[in-house]
């Protein structure tokens, strides 16, 4: 059976017929899926606020209060980052949640996250890190192997944390690990970045933001927030389509250009399947060309349809944990070719073993 949270996200009007017992389950699933505040905004945007009984409303309002304070902190943090990097006079491109927030996107409503992600030209990585260090951010101490892992294979520097505020920033030079087959040409992303009217920052183009969100969800294997991330894609796709009638053609062309066809396929396929995202008929036919072969797809359907549900024990079937684990392993498989991956995993395994004993 479809979890109640997904039922309500796809058909918000349903809440008019829920018992308090149903609400109990809905709030619990939404809380653990990190979608409690967003659930409130979805109901609000559908004019349904008055239909929420007081007991669940208190939890939704609490989550929204938390999310609002998060926005305050985020705004302050963006200012601090801008101040630290101002003198470099290079475009700082904010990614994912921070970008949605700066743009006032509907996908920013109720979205709480822990790291700010920025993208810069690889040549400027060093000076950006140095400037952040001067302004109080520091990297955790790391052994030579981990340093090498990040510097040689990853698409980001080791994460930095501000010593006073405790906030984290990840400085990227690409949106996928350089060892990933699908890793796009970063220069193409930078070339289409847009300056934002507020807060003096830059963001990726509309299509690139969505493609980034898609490759993050379907390549990186962190599925604890899987449904939240899928909901991001659903909202981003709908928002973009509303603003620009040519959007669907643009993103198909862009996926071809960047070599991210497969990620776009998964985004549209699972958004449509799980969250009933409206995708025009003509577009439907075109993106089907990006699908993997039907055996792979059948297997992934089994896994993703299990993994992309609320992370709550009432939704877990006997395969849920396995599905999340398998997709995590798959993400490593995609991250780097086997001749790099195997030694890496063995090394990590040995290290965990020795530190535990």
């Amino acid at each position: 059976m479809t979890p109640i949270l997904i039922q309500v996200l796809t058909q918000p009007k349903q809440i008019q017929h829920l018992s308090l017992k149903d609400w109990d389950l809905l709030i619990r699933q939404a809380r653990h899926a990190n979608l409690l505040a967003r659930l409130g905004y979805v109901l609000e945007n559908n004019g349904l606020s008055c239909d929420i009984p007081i007991a669940p409303l208190r939890h939704i309002q609490s989550a929204q209060t938390y999310a609002q304070q998060f926005e305050n902190t985020l705004k302050w943090e963006i200012k601090c980052i801008a101040k630290a990097l101002n003198n470099l006079n290079i475009p700082i491109i904010y990614l994912k949640g921070t970008a949605y927030f700066i743009l006032g996107s509907i996908a920013a409503q109720g979205r709480v996250f822990s790291d700010i992600d920025i993208l810069v030209n690889k040549d400027q990585l060093e000076q950006v890190e140095a400037a952040l260090r001067r302004a109080g951010w520091a990297q955790h101490e790391m052994d030579a192997y981990d340093q090498k892992y990040y510097r040689q294979w990853m698409h980001e520097s080791p994460p930095m944390q501000h010593v006073v505020r405790g906030t984290s920033i990840d400085v990227h030079h690409n949106i996928l690990p350089t060892t990933n087959e699908a890793c796009p040409d970063a220069a193409k992303l930078l070339a289409q970045a847009e300056k934002t009217p507020s807060l003096d920052g830059w963001v990726l183009s509309t299509s690139d933001r969505i493609l980034h969100s898609a490759c993050h969800l379907f390549h990186e294997g962190e599925l604890d927030n899987g449904l939240r991330d899928l909901s991001d894609l659903d909202l981003l796709l709908q928002e973009a389509a509303k603003k620009d009638p040519a959007f669907w053609q643009t993103i198909l062309a862009r996926a071809n250009d960047l070599g991210l066809q497969r990620s776009l396929y998964y985004a549209m396929h699972y958004c449509g399947l799980i969250l009933k995202t409206p995708i025009p008929q003509g577009i439907h036919k075109q993106y089907l060309a990006f699908a993997p072969n039907r055996f792979v797809l059948a297997a992934l359907d089994i896994l993703f349809l299990k993994a992309l549900i609320p992370n709550h024990h009432t939704c877990d079937g006997y395969l849920t944990k396995f599905a999340r684990w398998f997709l995590f392993v798959r993400s490593h498989w995609l991250k780097m070719p086997i001749h790099l991956l195997l030694p890496h995993l063995i090394r990590k395994g040995l290290k965990n073993f020795t530190t535990e004993s």
Partner: protein
């Protein structure tokens, strides 16, 4: 000359004869002494620091000696904690 102004997201409260200020952007709560209170009140409209200093001189006559040193450090602190904003003035020719 840089103009200073009060961050819109600052609340100031008088309580028990003292003053408190809260900045919702940085989340900081601070106790204000009479001089910092006056500075924040003045910055309801943008001013540069020399104008502020001139006004403070007339109001806190007994402390004129230390005022300029105090003002500089107070302004730096208040900017760092988000209570006041430094704007670069646009010179219209």
């Amino acid at each position: 000359m840089a103009l200073l102004s009060l961050n819109e997201q600052v609340l100031i409260k008088e309580i028990g004869g003292g003053f408190l200020a809260f900045c919702s952007q940085s989340g900081e709560t601070i106790v204000l002494n009479p001089i910092t209170y006056k500075i924040l009140k003045l910055l309801n409209k943008p001013l540069d620091s020399s104008t502020i200093l001139a006004i403070l001189h007339t109001e806190f006559e007994d402390q004129t000696e230390q005022l300029s040193v105090f003002l500089d450090s107070a302004i730096n602190e208040l900017i760092g904690r988000g209570f006041i904003i430094k704007e670069v003035a646009i010179i219209v020719k």
